[in-house]
Symmetry: D2
């Protein structure tokens, strides 16, 4: 198979760098265009980008010239089959729309997540939302389309809630301890976080409470009806580089045993696993039995950063059960999510 050509918008930022890293040697995709703001346009990627990954920048990518984040500039710079957008939320909206007229746009930004005709996709959880794509194209008259990945802290929680739906999921209380990399770069000032916790992340609680209902909603052939769940989130920033840790309390209509819950987590697989997509982890959810796991530094790289690790599953005196959930926020929660979504679309013929 000829590899698909990929353009990355906001390629020099934290998520953009992670896209570049994860796409190195990808069997289906190759980077053809790197776009960023005017300040970077015209420079070699190696000069435009303050590379912060622990692995070296791929040599040939470093030699590529960055172009402006502009439809015309991107088209002139190379072939494009797929556009990954890591644009900041405040400017992503109209730029992504301009690209979607011609190209599939897979976005990490919040701008279009709650649009009625836009998928809010987690490949293992709700692949049926891909059916919104033809509806969107028809309605908007586009050759391309927009599909979105949820917020990082939402993705990992939603992946663990999905297998609990069959027990009659009614109410969710979640407290997060989120990593620094979730705030981008430079992001959180070191003086703010040393010997400290910051108990507030702008718009994060609203995203978790709203997006989850769409993700777990029901697609009726026309639209997604939000899941009938009450969700309360409290989001905190802790002094951890990567890996969001979440304490989740759920109220379930039926009263499964702890072992039934574990089985539901362990047996959970989805389309990516059935289709053996290149970026799909063997196990979307890994259950750890140790008393003190998951931990961010020890578990964030499970499944090459694409598995969600749960642990401390136990009965709850107020709700039904409580447990911990950990995911790598810039892999499963960002660039890896986009790549897995693209793989699913290719496999299903949407791209």
């Amino acid at each position: 198979m000829k590899r698909k050509s990929v353009a990355i918008l906001a390629a020099t930022g934290a998520v953009g760098q992670r896209f570049v890293q994860l796409l190195e040697n990808h069997p289906w995709f190759e980077i053809s265009v790197l776009a960023a703001s005017e300040r970077s346009a015209g420079k070699k990627y190696r000069d435009a980008c303050a590379w912060r990954m622990e692995t070296d920048m791929p040599k040939e990518i470093g030699e590529m010239t960055v172009v402006n984040t502009d439809l015309k500039a991107v088209k002139e710079a190379g072939d494009v089959d797929i556009v990954f957008s890591a644009l900041p939320g405040d400017i992503a909206g109209p730029i992504e729309e301009s690209f979607a007229v011609e190209f599939p746009v897979l976005s990490k930004a919040a701008a279009h997540r709650m649009d009625e005709d836009v998928p809010l996709l987690i490949p293992e959880v709700n692949p049926e939302q891909l059916e919104l794509i033809p509806i969107q194209k028809r309605r908007r008259g586009w050759s391309g389309f927009i599909s979105t990945d949820p917020n990082c802290s939402t993705i990992q929680m939603a992946m663990t809630l999905k297998p609990l739906m069959k027990f009659g999921l009614k109410r969710v209380v979640v407290t997060t301890m989120q990593a620094l990399s979730g705030a981008g770069y430079p992001g959180v000032a070191s003086l703010d976080i040393i010997d400290n916790v910051i108990p507030y992340i702008a718009k994060e609680e609203e995203k978790m409470e709203t997006e989850t209902k769409k993700i777990l909603g029901t697609f009726d052939g026309e639209r997604v009806r939000p899941a009938d769940i009450a969700i309360s989130a409290s989001c905190n920033r802790v002094n951890v580089k990567d890996g969001h840790l979440e304490v989740i309390y759920v109220d379930l209509e039926y009263k499964p045993t702890i072992e039934e819950i574990k089985e539901a987590f362990r047996n959970f697989i989805g389309e990516p696993q059935r289709l053996k997509l290149p970026t799909a982890p063997e196990r979307p959810i890994i259950v750890r039995d140790e008393i003190d796991r998951p931990q961010p530094r020890l578990d964030r790289d499970a499944g090459r950063g694409m598995s969600i690790v749960v642990g401390r599953i136990r009965s709850d005196p107020v709700m039904t059960i409580k447990y911990l959930c950990l995911g790598h926020n810039t892999i499963r929660g960002a660039a890896g999510a986009g790549i897995l979504s693209a793989e699913l679309m290719v496999a299903k013929g949407y791209i």
Copy 2:
């Protein structure tokens, strides 16, 4: 007033050092005996103790000779009116009993907290539990007695729950982010906590779930009937030196406005404030209105470490309200708690 003579058990440990620090220049108390394990006994305090406070060790205390944690040794070492015990939980039980035959023992250990005839005291919250003292003395035939302070993470939560009782407190879900100093010294290994969170603290969740009901219970003249509240706790260790941060979700029978909740917090005072006890903070609970407070490093020293700081009080989609609560775990949560309790006992004539 002649100052009362104080013996400190486990005086060289982390909480013991905090007692020494806080008792410097105390108007009512003076340290007469420092007791520790056999390894330290016979040495000067300055040599026996790896002092870790940010203020200097009081000079004259450094010159005192440490004695063995043994009733006879302590009595020979000096006058004793009050015994503060910072003993480790696993050995505290019988040692404290041996001292209580003759002396008032104020304990930071868990050993006797749930004993039916032992106060589990927070001076602002349940001073009526002091009435267990004569019952205990009579029942056990002691000249002295044992009174206990709750677990550190429990104290600060219970102080904020008390003023919510009038709104019909039914259910509490709490997620903690606790400081390193709560684990004592050496406590948490740096290799375990760097770039990490440890989502487990042995016995901590059980303590929060159990002790709170006794603290908020009703004293009927004979015993304490536990409060009829369901409590679920999840306890985590984060990379913070001092100051436990807690995310609290409460379900209330009546539905107060946010402003009524704030008023209840702001107006909350207790016996220590009415009696103007030396260690009592002017305001037991401080309400902060900023979107991102309280924070451990910025707020833990409020009221010289004796105030609890709450913030982000808001409606909750699952429970009734949620809010944050922060306290200094080795001052209000340990040594300061013991001293305030002793002050209340002196003022009320129990010592």
Copy 3:
């Protein structure tokens, strides 16, 4: 004595906030004007400033209106006897000159430090450089003047080198481990420093190597002849909030014993101590004998942040001796330095 009126330039920044904190209840000075950039001008200080000190903002200061950093605006805003400048190095030069035409300007910026007629003052070390003030005023035709404090890491090293001069100081090698607050706010990104050291601080090594020679130089009645010392500095940023730690190796012509070195440190006092200036620490240099001190968190507040703490003084196989030196970089290294300098000028009649 009527208190002198003080204007602070760049009052909302990290050093500016420290000035506000340290000047609360100062016996000689009171803040009359707070100046900052246009973005802040016109706002109340409480609204213009993201206050980051661990103590509360003084209430009445919070109510003051910030004015633009402009001579006219400052003069209209209130009486001014002294101007403290915490301006960023790149804009400080001409602005400070404009104020110096009329007022004494005490600057924390690098812009004028190496000017021939400008003092580079450490009150305990080189009070004779104050005699440059009349020379400067005459030469420049100003009613006011500019005096500068050295770079933070330079101040603390120079204070320890001064008493070593009598042993024939020839060569100095210094490696620093500097605190985050030295980079201002937001300064160092948390993603850069977590689990890391950044072995480079722009222009810092040059400042240490150059400024020290002027500080320790000889004033001949007309100018300062730089000290004839070779200095090599390597500067590193470590994950510490406040307090620069420096490893210093010195080559001395005469070969004092370790005890003679300690005596020289312990006996070192200067004009601020003789004059009992309000901000002067009792001991400018504190010698600690423990094997593992000074440490930033334990020793930075010595002498209310105005003492330098040295330790681990020992013979050196390559140079003559080596030792550690620690100072609070935003107190003795910045705002406290400026205030002590101003106190010295008042006491000596320069203001």
Copy 4:
């Protein structure tokens, strides 16, 4: 080639775990015996060991039964061709001797490093010290022998000093900023290192000053004459998980240009590279040209943790040049060093 059977002493500790991790899928070696203290003996490795590596414990290793650190017990447990010792320094001496009577013992402990007839080996630097092995065997009447790896902070410095020898290396001043993992587990208490630097590591400075002279010494066919270099070390512990950073100042007899120094570093290779040993990094020393590298978190994994990264090479006002040097302390500085040494011995026929 049949793989050599390897016994690991102190297999459950921090360095022991690293040996297990690095030996997974090793082409020449396979683990046959895991030995540890009596507390662990008899348990499965998975139960005896609190595994702390970020990668999973190899499954089949987890099932192995740990035996006591005793010659007889080890021999009964399996075939042994090589013994890796990660024993604590205070007990390593006699135990290693008991094993060396029969087996090659490659030790990470300090006990025998300075023994006249024991190699202090860095494969790239001084492979000629292997010739001490037959001398040692003859003198001690052993079938086996002891060979040692230097202290972690010494290895990386010595590797960078070796190519500077040709410029007439005379004097070295080094200040280290060392990682937490160098202290083993539990090692440094989190309360000691948060917001802090600990400027003392027991015996570390002496090791750097002494071992380096033997490493860089001259083997005359009988013994190693120490290099005639003056070395001064100051060792500090910083809040970094892995990777020692060292600031090195060297005085050279000849005055090479910076470019000549860089060339010397870049061109440095040794026997491991010529022999293409499995664990040998392609480049023992990597020169980085960025102004702010090497950094521990970004560079410690270079060459799979076996390369030393240098940077900021510049002229020095006091010595001749100064530079930074970074190495992974538990790979190149410990377990990886032992494995590379063993590979060299196998290739050279010593095992």
